[in-house]
Symmetry: C2
Subunit: 380 residues, 2 copies
């Protein structure tokens, strides 16, 4: 994997880059749709690809239990298994295991009982790396401890320091397996909750591992956009310039713009598909909740400015009907549109950076997007 | 609408024909996937069309309540509303209203309470025709009384005779609106339960209405293949030769073959998509239930002889995983495959009739299909 920084915006931290692997290239800033269980919910890979997505996020925790990394490996890896020709990044499972009830953490790893069957399971930095290697992800994430929001400083410090010790073990495991030669890159993850001293220390220490990329974790966990921006301001100054920077779990369009503004290159979130399944679609003039009766007779496409297949062929009235009638095709169509919306937003962001007008683009986008969002009573 | 009978098989009743409308042509025998609520469940119209389907069945009863025929009309009709470029036939709602609890039938029509809200509703031959006209179906079905299986002779006779009186009202309503000039054809429906005298009388009387097509109703209601064949043998001799013949609600592949054998031209059934949602897929060597553990590591496509997109790109193991993980993409992929299976079966049937080898095709198909079906413990 190679990252090329093509341009840095003069007026902000926004960056234009390219992530290149033997499997293909992805222009950054990029948004990665989520395929937790080796499938983007309700959408086939052709539609994802047509929407412009080049990289998906899958999950080591979920895939370990269903269908298991050995099975995926025997099927020729995750790309072939799920018929996805683009890149795949896998989350390490850190976020998932720390969200479990009754898990215990010690220096070795995290112990918990399997959801199905209840047998004891131990996730360690080494086992997470092994799972991700067998899945065949292009980019593996280090096994980290992601703390809840809010967390007291002493525990946030302890978890951040443990994350660094675990990162050393992840890196050793990765190098022992062959490092970049295996075709899989490893990204470390910055933690430190909302504390500026911890974020600075974590960022500097994580950067010192000199891995192919670096991620910022522990955000988008309920802290809100303002706090996220504050934390990013204590993090990004210490991130390496020449490495791809991944902000995990972000987010809404306004969050994505803030992340790009602060110099992040990669983002992922379930929002486009999760919201779609509740009939919420994104448009340039705000969100709409399609199951609302106001759309019953609406002859317009979801977004009059959108070029996606769904907007080319269906009315809001039809999508409203599908949700009203309980037809899962509504989930599919709304998801395809939302992914297309995010991909178009990213393409427009990249074009704006290229043309030295990112700040103006962000201002204009948010003015149109947030104004109507309020009108539709879908304020955040 | 025009029907051209191209060929009749020498060794059976099988017929090759073409149904032509201003919207396009469909070769018969044809199988019509079901889009009850203006959507084939979990599958978009592009996939349906790519699978080879040229005509879909929608439902006047369901669409009357959601989203309402006036809304569909204001959207430019059902084809445009659901983005379907092929033909659409609508069922009259007769089958649905007679399946309701606490409905009462009199000469005027059927009275029942709306599922949502509970307000009293009256469906009549005239209202059903009006609904189907507003929906804009290429073919409307007469409003009939479909009796349950089994039904005593006296009631079957009474319902069959009422169906004929209602057919006269449907035909008058259709002619008053402009008849075929409206772009909508009307098919009468033969009833008579399992009684040969009633079937003969109903067929002769329905044929005498000289409508653009004729349907055989009241079958595939639990009577089984043997009884269905018996009833068809008392029906088909009296059907007009030059009109398209539609066997309603049929069926499994073996039922479809029997229907073609007896001279039917059109069939519809929810089976391809309904079975798909329970992970049951059709193959030339029988059915498979994909959520069965035996497919967990199966690297084969669903059907090794199938040319559909799903079989070209996915393993049984992946589809098994999707069902096991609760991913609705499994419904979509299995449904696309099953529709493709039915469409390929129909194309092969038409080719066999063309080449004077339908009987051999049917024998060979069933030998391969039913043998393995038993092996998989999915016997009927």
């Amino acid at each position: 994997m190679k990252f090329t920084l093509l341009k840095t915006d003069q007026a902000s931290g926004a960056r234009l880059g390219e992530l290149t692997t033997s499997r293909g290239s992805v222009s950054t800033p990029t948004f990665m749709p989520v395929a937790t269980q080796a499938a983007v919910k309700a959408v086939g890979p052709d539609s994802i690809s047509q929407a412009g997505a080049g990289i998906l996020l899958a999950n080591a925790y979920h895939l370990h239990f269903k269908p298991g990394e050995d099975l995926v490996a025997s099927m020729g890896g995750l790309h072939k298994f799920m018929n996805w020709g683009g890149l795949i990044i896998t989350d390490s499972g850190g976020y998932q295991v720390f969200s479990l009830p009754n898990r215990t953490i010690d220096e070795e790893g995290v112990r918990f009982k399997a959801e199905k069957g209840g047998q004891p399971v131990l996730f360690t930095p080494e086992s997470s790396m092994e799972i991700q290697r067998k899945l065949g992800a292009d980019i593996a994430m280090a096994f980290d401890e992601c703390v809840a929001y809010p967390t007291p400083h002493p525990y946030a410090k302890q978890a951040m320091e443990r994350t660094l010790r675990w990162l050393a073990r992840c890196k050793k495991n990765w190098l022992d397996a062959g490092g970049l030669e295996t075709g899989q890159a490893l990204f470390g993850i910055v933690q430190g909750s909302t504390f500026s001293d911890l974020r600075k220390a974590s960022t500097e220490a994580t950067a010192a591992f000199d891995l192919p990329g670096i991620a910022v974790g522990g955000l988008s966990v309920g802290e809100g956009l303002e706090v996220m921006n504050e934390v990013l301001s204590h993090t990004t100054p210490y991130l390496p310039v020449d490495k791809p920077r991944y902000l995990m779990g972000v987010g809404l369009p306004e969050d994505v713009l803030a992340a790009v503004d602060s110099g992040m290159d990669m983002m992922d979130c379930v929002i486009p598909t999760k919201y779609a399944r509740t009939s919420v679609v994104f448009t340039r003039v705000g969100r709409m909740r399609l199951d609302n009766a106001q759309y019953r007779k609406d002859k317009f496409p979801l977004d009059t400015s959108c070029g996606c297949d769904v907007c080319g062929h269906y009315t809001r009235a039809y999508i409203h009907h599908l949700f009203n009638a309980g037809e899962v095709l509504g989930h599919t169509l709304a998801s395809i549109h939302n992914i297309h919306f995010y991909m178009t937003l990213m393409a427009d962001i990249r074009k704006a950076i290229q043309e030295d007008r990112f700040a103006a683009f962000k201002t204009d986008f948010l003015a149109a997007y947030l104004r109507s969002d309020k009108k539709n009573r879908l304020v955040r």
